[in-house]
Amino acid sequence: MEFFRDTKIDFMKYRKYFVMLSLTLLAVGMVAVFFHGKLNLGIDFAGGTQLTLKFREQPEIDELRDVVAAAGIAEAQIQRFGEEGANEVIIKTPTVEGQEEGTRNLVVDALSARYQTTTTGNFDLNQRGSDALADLLLALDPDELRATDEQMAAEHYENVALMILEQRRDEGLLVSWDEITGIPEVSTEVATALEQNAYLGQFAVLGAENVGPQIGAELRRKGILAVLASLVGMLIYIWFRFELRFGVGALVALSHDVLIVLGLFTLMGFEFNLTTIAAFLTLVGYSVNDTVVVFDRVRENLRRSRRKPLVDTINQSLNQTLSRTVLTSGTTILVVGSLFLLGGDVLRGFAFILTVGVTYSSIYVASPFTLLWEQIFGREARLRRKEA
């Protein structure tokens, strides 16, 4: 199957339209980033706490917001997470004065107070660790082992506690007592004792992240630096491998790519975090990679026919590499597209950047700018200026 055999599209003739389209997208994007709604900075850069919670029943988001606000955290962001029916939510709070080490306990306590309906003891089997559970069981001693051998009793209950937590591990949340009574190591007495002295809380903390303000600021600085440094790195590489005019064209092209995708990314409301930086740096690499392949061809064609105007050579090269460009973009889009659709919530923003970035890539931006550079600073331009 061949899609593009001997195409002779006059890309350069349409370059004005490409540039116009790009400038429009760019303007819209930058307005989105700087004026409208702004970038949704994740805790990596903004600092703050992010909790991933799993509930037994899907809680009302508004109600969660009220509970968290009542705990003294005004600007919490709360959203659903994971698959349908997973009953998972993410609660993101900014750094609270006096709670620089995180708002986890504040939020969890407030939610526990709101959602705890049972009054059987104060031991939440969905929150506590195995050692604490072993302690509780040893204190209750439902299997009546302590009278015989204290050490053996301790080991026995440690094992039972581990088995119960193992059961909690897979789903992250124990939903019914049947899950506990079904464990072979759990005797009827243990199950009964637990039902009387502990309870299955309404939610469990699947993950908790806290980034202090200091680290947030550092990551911001390092992130910006990494992106800028990689841009300069690319410029230098292309300058070294080709010529300055190509380097400038490539740099403009990939800045264009990054900014346009950043704009769309912001408009879509994705969270900007560490993985986002990874995605952008990859996009930088990919974008240059695309440009370089065209430039390689341009250089080869220039060597062959020096007389031909640069415009024609670029056009010819774009056509010759068109098939490759489309195919490689295609396979890349296939994989990042499946990542976008199936890769889970955490990687969605990452996949979005690459999907959009690769689709709207910039080989048709790099070349016009190389041409523009040539017209202003190039040999032909200098000659013309001399004549004038």
Binding site: A229, T275, T282, Y286, T328, V335, V336, S338
Partner: protein, 523 residues
């Protein structure tokens, strides 16, 4: 078959066998990051200023003491964490200051400003103190974690001169407990009780205030203790009037172990150093019948009655759970932290969350792979098989290299692998397109292949080096998970160079070997 073909084949087989060997069985050989296997990642700051401040206070006291011994009554006050000033030293005693400083305060610079003598810690000394504080904190934390019993913990100083420590603990089911354990100052003091004299506590503060008409003598203070039920939940408070000066502190402890008290309740058994034991024996012998408050971080955990002289060992009892007793013994044994600790960053991931991520990533990867394979076969027909073989070898080598270098696979790392699958075929595509072009120009199959590989090489290299440059910057910038991405992407790219140029070429040569004339290529 010619020799070059054999040789190249042998190299390829060797690489693949090594990769398979390194990565088999995958579930065991692949090191999963904390974001996938679950665990806790902490970045903590050692408050080195604290250490400097306490050193400054100690040295200032020493100076004042030595001045007093030399007959100079002076008073001093700290002006920062590493400086203090002293007033009241007559100008003609500057020689004495010089002698004392040389002998007892070698790390200090001093100068006189009129009435005041200003002391500044020498920069080298200050750095040394701060550095020691971090080293000691690292050691203390390591001891605590070791005793806690976590498999494969990572406890590292961030940077050679950093004041931060990174702690990574896989598979911890109670992160809050670990955080407390690490940070625990566990400042232990034994103090004599003034009221109620026999120990125990009283339920209201008013009762204590009534004893002294509301005005406490200078050497006494009121402390509180929490009353707990059997499960460790707070149910009330008790008040104690105790002496400010402790009989002994945690520094006098040689060791501490969890044990059981007379009612089988959890207690801490402690053993004192020789010196501490002497102090303790004297104090207890002189105060039989009085209460002795066991104070932990300013809270009374219990205040038992001294029944007899206690030598160099004893028990700490309170309403502890076993877990608390274990943690307390660990902390007491591991020694005190030299300075306070602040958590700058925490990332805790439960195992359930990691499992979901792995499944989603795997699904996306497999479907992406299938789509790419189908595309290559559709576009390049027979030659597509060549690209598919190269792609699969690429993935095998990628996993082999990850296992061999003991690289950590993170969630972004999985994304890197998936991305590699899409981008790895780029090198094949560049070559195949070039072959097609050469065929169109009327070359024979063999020479078209020859020319295709030759001419595409520079593009292939350029394209991949740019991606590697980006990955390099990413690695420089990155924290754990992001580095994982940079690593998988880089390995994937390097491997794809090998498979798309070396392996793919070999397959062409192998298929065409021995045939005199090849008229058609399925491309």
């Amino acid at each position: 078959m010619n020799r070059s073909l054999l040789w190249r084949g042998a190299i390829i087989v060797a690489v693949v066998v090594l990769a398979v060997f390194a990565a088999h069985p995958l579930a065991e050989k692949l090191k999963l990051g904390l974001d996938l296997r679950g665990g806790i990642h902490l970045v903590l700051q050692v408050e080195v200023e604290d250490a400097a401040r306490s050193e400054t206070a100690k040295d200032m006291d020493r100076l004042l003491q030595e001045l007093q011994d030399a007959g100079v009554q002076a008073n001093g006050s700290p002006t920062s964490s590493s400086s203090f000033e002293v007033n009241g030293i007559p100008t003609d005693r500057d020689g004495t200051i010089g002698e004392i400083v040389v002998q007892f305060l070698p790390g200090w610079d001093w100068s006189r400003r009129g009435e005041t003598v200003v002391f500044e810690m020498a920069p080298a000394n200050l750095n040394e103190i701060k550095n020691l504080a971090v080293v000691q904190a690292l050691e203390t934390i390591r001891n605590r974690i070791d005793e806690f019993g976590v498999a494969e913990p990572v406890i590292q100083r961030q940077g050679l001169e950093g004041t931060r420590i990174v702690v990574q603990l896989p598979g911890v089911d109670d992160p809050e407990r670990v955080k407390k354990l690490i940070k625990n100052t566990a400042f232990l003091e034994f103090r004599l009780v003034e009221y109620p004299l026999g120990g125990g506590g009283v339920p209201t503060r008013a009762e204590i205030d009534a004893q002294h008409g509301g005005v406490l003598p200078d050497h006494l203070e009121v402390l509180t203790g929490t009353v707990r039920d059997r499960q460790g939940a707070a149910i009330g408070e008790q008040y104690y009037l105790v002496e400010k000066r402790p009989v002994i502190t945690g520094r006098d402890l040689k060791s501490a172990r969890p044990g059981l008290g007379e009612f089988n309740q959890p207690v801490v058994n402690f053993y004192l150093t020789h010196e501490g034991g002497k102090l303790f024996a004297e104090a207890t012998a002189a105060n039989v019948g009085r209460g002795l408050a066991i104070v932990l971080d300013g809270n009374v955990v219990s205040a038992p009655n001294i029944r007899t002289r206690i030598g160099d060992s004893g028990i700490i009892e309170g309403s502890f759970t076993r877990q608390e007793v274990e943690d307390l013994s660990t902390v007491l044994r591991s020694g005190a932290l030299p300075a306070g600790i602040t958590y700058l960053e925490e990332r805790t991931v439960g195992p359930a969350l990691g499992q979901d991520s792995i499944e989603a990533g795997l699904k996306a990867g497999l479907i992406g792979l299938a789509l790419v394979v189908v595309t290559m076969l559709l576009v390049y027909k027979g030659t597509g098989i060549n690209a598919v073989v190269a792609l699969i070898l690429d993935i095998v080598i990628l996993f082999g290299a990850l296992a061999y270098f003991k690289a950590t696979l993170t969630l972004p790392g999985i994304a890197g692998i998936v991305l590699t699958i899409g981008m790895a075929v780029d090198a094949n595509v560049l070559v195949f397109e070039r072959i097609r072009e050469e065929l169109r120009h009327g070359r024979t199959v063999k020479s078209a292949i020859e020319a295709g590989f030759g001419k595409a090489l520079s593009s292939v290299m350029d394209a991949n080096i740019t991606t590697l440059i980006a990955a390099l910057f990413l690695f420089q910038f990155g924290t754990g998970p992001i580095r994982g991405f940079a690593v998988t992407l880089s390995i994937g790219i390097v491997a794809s160079l090998f498979t798309a140029i070396f392996v793919s070429r070999w397959i062409f040569d192998l298929v065409l070997a021995g045939r005199k004339r090849v008229d058609r290529l399925s491309i």
